[in-house]
Amino acid sequence: MIVLRDSGARMVRLQGVGLHYGRAGDAGPEVLRDLTFTIEEGGFRWLLGPSGAGKTSLLRLLYLAERPTRGTLEILGTEIGGLKRDGLPRLRRRIGVVFQDFRLLAHLTAFDNVALPLRLAGRPEGQVRADVTEILEWVGLGRKTDARPAQLSGGEQQRVAISRAVVVRPALLLADEPTGNLDEAQAERLMQLLWELNRLGTSMVIATHNDGLVSRHPADCLQLEHGRLVI
């Protein structure tokens, strides 16, 4: 696989970023305020903070589901403010996301769910088959490739969601509570996978409430409170 990466490039850069939901002119309260930070290539950040602090909103900005209402946002070396709408899909394909509610497609099998980003990227079907099978084996779902999400437990669905996020070997991986439905052993196993990907160069932002996990795997933190960065 060819990964385009300028060495030492900034994967994520925010400069005075603010976000409020609602239409322009009808400005609701800002859910994110004056965020300024940078994540370099291969960087790892825990995203911490109480519920409602803006973790999910910040992740939405980073996976390009929202555009900032203020400030400058740069993702994978591209300034988002100046980017047209049709320039976003190409960037999104280089970002892996584990959603808190998994967001699997209910009518597709585990295999087809994981294969989705590869197929969207136009990978040949042979490679899709090999990559998807490998990752599903790795997360322990090798025997459940044909199961639909409804037939899987919460933990299994979460592992499918994780597989879908990492199968493209993204340049940037974002995860919202990726261990929420996993037991301790599975959570540790997931962390090993994430560290391995990180070592290979994937930048990461992982939002979590799991303090034990954070203390066992110390790394730089982004601590949010009331939409502001406190660390």
Binding site: Y63, L64, A65, E66, R67, R85, D86, L88, P89, R90, L91, R92, R93, I95, V97, R103, L105, H107, L108, D112, L116, P117, R119, L120, A121, G122, E125, R164
Partner: protein, 307 residues
């Protein structure tokens, strides 16, 4: 390979957006089939009207007929009344030819009204003279006056007036048929747009997920358009096939007026005018094109709401 081609290359039957259920394969084809059926009838109307108009224009342009009652009685001039009328007509400037119809021609002329077996001699038929004009400017009023004098009771029928009236009628019929086609097409667009929007609502979550995973608007629109094209094309095909027996039935009913020698033995290929044979297969094509365009436009417009 281009992005577009790579994106659309999939395993057969792979339905990532779940459109097989979101865009039902029952209602949409059925509605489009009804539209196609109506379109076929409208097209038949347009073709019939235009061929009638053409027929009248060719047949009735520079000609007129003269009726001479009691043609075989003697006129004041000495000959029969028919001879007297012919003499007047041939003497009139601007008339190129004046030819009395034979009994056989008269029978042909009357066949649609009296049937081919009618015993003509039993009826007091007038003599009929077919007159071909050399130019449109012949003084027909003068000719009519002289005819009345030579063979009283003779009628000179200029076709020009009737031709104009019939042409106007045919043109109006054609216009109505085209308006009907336009309306049917617009309703088809509306039906497909509504079905597509319903499909978008039903699959909103799947679309958002695929969108966040990096699907382009074009990719999502193509998935919808492919489905809508298939369903609309199927509907168009059903409608066209359903319209065929109806059109053939109408053609057989109108056969005696269209000059077919033997209405009971008509080759299928000649039963309908070529324009109509071309129209029928183009209905599924048109439905498919309308389906593709409508779905593309509807989906792309809807997707603008996503970031």
């Amino acid at each position: 390979m281009s992005d577009r081609r790579r994106e659309t290359r999939f395993r057969r039957g792979y339905d990532d957006l779940g459109l097989r259920r979101a865009l039902s394969d029952r209602i949409l084809p059925l509605l489009v089939a009804a539209m196609a059926f109506l379109a076929a009838l409208a097209a038949a109307g347009a073709v019939a009207a235009s061929s009638l108009a053409l027929h009248w224009q060719e047949g009735a342009g520079a000609s007129l007929t003269v009726q001479v009652p009691r043609p075989d009685e003697f006129a004041e001039s000495g000959g029969t009344r028919m001879d007297a009328a012919l003499a007047v007509l041939r003497d009139t400037p601007g008339i190129a030819a004046a030819q009395p119809l034979t009994q056989a021609q008269l029978r042909d002329l009357l066949k649609p009204w009296l049937g081919s077996q009618a015993a003509l001699p039993a009826l007091p038929l007038p003599g009929v003279v077919a007159v071909r004009l050399a130019s449109a400017g012949a003084d027909l009023q003068e000719a009519a006056n002289r005819l009345s004098a030579a063979a009283p009771g003779s009628l000179l029928e200029a076709h020009e007036v009737w031709r104009n009236r019939l042409s106007a009628l045919a043109r109006s019929l054609q216009a109505c048929a085209f308006v009907a086609l336009l309306v049917v097409g617009s309703v088809a667009v509306a039906v497909i747009a509504i079905a597509t929007r319903a499909g978008l609502s039903a699959r909103r979550e799947a679309i958002e997920i695929v969108h966040l995973l990096g699907a382009t608007d074009g990719y999502i629109a193509r998935r919808f358009a492919a489905r809508a094209t298939r369903l609309a094309g199927t509907g168009g095909l059903i409608g066209a096939v359903a319209a065929l027996p109806v059109l053939l039935g109408l053609a057989v009913l109108s056969a005696p007026f269209a000059g077919w020698a033997d209405p009971d033995h008509i080759a299928l290929g000649q039963a309908l005018p070529p324009a109509l044979w071309a129209t029928l297969p183009s209905l599924p094509l048109a439905a498919a094109v309308i389906g593709w365009l409508t779905a593309q436009t509807t989906v792309r417009r809807w997707l603008r709401r996503l970031p």
